[in-house]
């Protein structure tokens, strides 16, 4: 287990995160709280499968710590039915939360 990949802090200071989190329904917020809690002490090299932790493809955004640098954006599923997800960057053991919202995939069947 690599020490560099362990999440020890969660940062919710981003205004977009706060607004999109507040827009979730009560039950979704409850499940999201549980999901975010799973991030503590999580080794990003061995993330639990149920979180569906992965980086967004072709997506680099300004670092919170040094906006001149670009970092990856990661997502996890935040509801038990996998219909909602949240994004964040990972910098020095802190998950900087960015956005919460409905997952991309929808049911195409009638």
């Amino acid at each position: 287990m690599s020490g560099n990949n362990i999440i020890t802090n969660i940062d919710g200071n981003n205004a977009t995160f706060k607004k999109t989190f507040a827009k979730l329904k009560h039950q979704q917020r409850k499940e999201a709280t549980f999901a975010f809690g799973q991030l503590f002490m999580m080794d990003t090299d061995q993330a639990p499968a149920r979180l569906h932790f992965h980086p967004l493809k072709d997506r680099m955004v300004p670092s919170v710590l040094d906006p001149t640098k670009k970092v990856k954006v990661y997502t996890i599923h935040i509801t038990a039915d996998d219909t909602y997800k949240a994004s964040f960057t990972l910098e020095n053991g802190t998950a900087y939360l960015r956005v919460c919202g409905e997952h991309d995939q929808v049911d195409n069947s009638p």
């Binding site: 919710g12 200071n13 977009t16 507040a22 919170v64 919202g101 409905e102 991309d104």
Partner: protein, 176 residues
């Protein structure tokens, strides 16, 4: 970012989706089969026209999403989440209209297979509506991810354990 034109494009998309109403017969239950066939014959060209309209809507929303993803403009696109709300309403409208469309056409052809051309048109329309839903969702994410990179940041919303996390999220939204 041209947020005014984006607002209008989203509203226009919502209006186009609502126009599915115009090809959804109110009720066909218990009508004779020949009457239902005539209705199907009349509606078919309107379905085709609507399909073209919705395909254009889908294309426009996809272009907007790609523009947002490529943008390096640091000004916020949707600071008050108004466009997010409009796109949510568009998505809800799609689900409702899709359900109504499928219900109506089950009544038009309850045994299935009597109107193959119409069946194909309905299937295309339903698929288009699913694509618009996905693209609307993609646009929501593109806008939010863009804004998250340039949003204002406070200083005192952080947690290093579960208890602090619950407290932090409760401050953002009650009873988390």
């Amino acid at each position: 970012m041209h947020t005014t034109s984006m607002n209008f494009a989203i509203l226009s998309a919502a209006r186009s989706v609502k126009s599915v109403d115009s090809v959804t017969p109110v009720t066909l239950h218990n009508l004779p089969k020949f009457v239902r066939s005539i209705i199907g014959y009349i509606i078919s060209p309107r379905l085709q026209k609507l399909s073209f309209t919705l395909a254009e809507v889908c294309f426009r929303l996809r272009m907007m999403s790609q523009d947002v993803q490529r943008s390096d403009d640091t000004s916020l696109i949707d600071p008050e989440l108004e466009q997010r709300e409009s796109l949510d309403q568009l998505k809800q409208s799609i689900l409702k209209q899709r359900g109504e469309l499928e219900r109506s056409y089950r009544e038009l052809d309850p045994d299935g297979g009597a109107m193959p051309k119409l069946d194909k048109q309905i299937a295309s329309l339903v698929q288009l509506m699913a694509e618009i839903y996905e693209v609307a969702n993609e646009l929501q994410w593109a806008i939010a991810e863009h804004d998250a990179s340039y949003s204002e940041r406070t200083k005192d919303f952080h947690a290093s354990n579960q208890e602090e996390l619950v407290a932090m999220l409760s401050r953002i939204a009650p009873a988390a």
